[in-house]
Symmetry: C2
Subunit: 244 residues, 2 copies
DNA sequence: CATGGACGTTACGAGACGTAACACTTATGA
DNA sequence: TCATAAGTGTTACGTCTCGTAACGTCCATG
């Protein structure tokens, strides 16, 4: 007999949650095997040993399931980035940066379909809810990088970016960045936020091309070195590390 | 009465080519309206005033149509990059670089669905032919950037990259790059080819995130400035321009 | 004018989504 | 203890799309 309805779940709720989890895991399995589009209710049900209409007791339609998968993927990415940082001393900023970038890459390469689910074109006729959990979860994944940049600035080790900040003569732009800043944990300065974005896009560019196979003609060793170079370049441009 | 079967096409062939073109254009229209996945033979046929099975006289199946669209998109991107360069003096290397990058971005923003078609996860259950025209067309689009880097090196204006080339101690990696080099027009040195790839991925990262809406919370002016900054940073890192 | 090929049509089967109606299980409460 | 209600799963069904098959129709060629 459950006593607390908020923290303790009834048996029914636990079973239901387990079923939801099984559905999502089965969908992920199918996605990894056959691509993002091959998430068929029919197949999920068959793998689970039930019939397709039963799934509609848990997800209103295909979009709702995909939305859940996207949200979970953001969580997974955020967890991967967080875990990578924990294995590096907090004051080793260069190491933390490399760890974050490597974790981003490893996560993407280890689960390309989920990467595509998050950062690619959504999926056949799937439109992500504009203000749903998706957008917020994306911010969360990015916040790890933001935290690193903030720490670097706090420790006084953030050098001037090699390229002058954009839009110095246009206060409106800075204002816009400042708005976003408030949403961020500790009120990053616009310049720092810009550094963060450019770093992210540099990192993302390499990983994205690699994941989608546009570097397939290079061998793994070469790719590793190229990635390291790209990360070092990004850190240098951002002022996260000092030129040698 | 057609005389030359290689250059002159019969009336039938011309009509057929026009129909093929109309099918592709209609598919693109649908794709731009409703997303990459909404390319239904039924809808294409309805818009064209014919019935769906008629389309199978021109494309064996959905994949074949999509492959054609991908190939055309690469052509379009390559043409956009080529056109951008023509409007800039050949010896204005910085200008050419900015022009290429801007064209890349403009092309992507002007037709996000085609960008996704090329660089995203292919499409519902669509697997690009491994050695089909797709891969080669991708190289062609990239060759414009390669030509620029080559020209810069020829004119002796390619400074040393700000970040040491990757894998200096691993000849195998350089060998791999050298292999690819032979495929390229003029035998780029491995270092130069690396610069090209890193530049491309930096450019692609920003554009990709922007196209897929991950920068939606920034206004257009801010984005323009950020893009310029990103491009300048890439050029600097690559050694395409000298530090001030 | 007869023939063959290209083009388009209707008819059809397979498969996936999503709904409706029904049956079984489980928790709750008089 | 037993009746009721909610939750879960099933079968049956309608709709849509893909892709094939079989059948006309038009036009170019001899």
């Amino acid at each position: 007999m459950p006593t607390d309805s908020t923290t303790v779940h009834s048996r029914r709720e636990r079973v239901r949650a387990a079923t939801v989890e099984e559905i999502k895991q089965t969908a992920l399995t199918l996605m990894r095997e056959s691509g993002t589009a091959e998430v068929r209710f029919t197949d999920i049900a068959r793998l689970m040993g039930i019939t397709a209409p039963a799934l509609y007791r848990y997800f209103a339609d295909r979009d709702e399931l995909l939305t859940a998968l996207v949200a979970d993927s953001f969580d997974s990415l955020a967890a991967a980035l967080a875990g990578a940082q924990e294995s590096v001393p907090a004051d080793d900023l260069g190491g933390r940066f490399l760890a974050i970038c490597s974790a981003y890459r490893s996560w993407a390469l280890g689960d390309p379909q989920r990467f595509a689910l998050i950062f690619g074109v959504p999926v056949p006729s799937y439109q992500a809810p504009p203000d749903g959990p998706t957008a917020e979860a994306g911010q969360r994944a990015l916040d790890h990088l933001a935290a690193l940049v903030t720490d670097t600035a706090r420790l006084g080790r953030l050098g001037p970016p090699l390229v002058a900040p954009a839009a110095p003569a246009v206060p409106a732009a800075a204002g816009t960045l400042a708005e976003k800043t408030e949403h961020c944990a500790d009120g990053l300065a616009p310049e720092i936020y810009q550094v963060l974005l450019l770093t992210w896009s540099t990192l993302h560019g390499f990983v994205s091309l690699e994941v989608y196979g546009h570097f397939n003609w290079l061998d793994a060793t070469t790719l590793d070195h190229l990635f390291t170079t790209q990360v070092r370049a990004a850190a240098l441009v951002a002022g996260l590390v000092q030129p040698a």
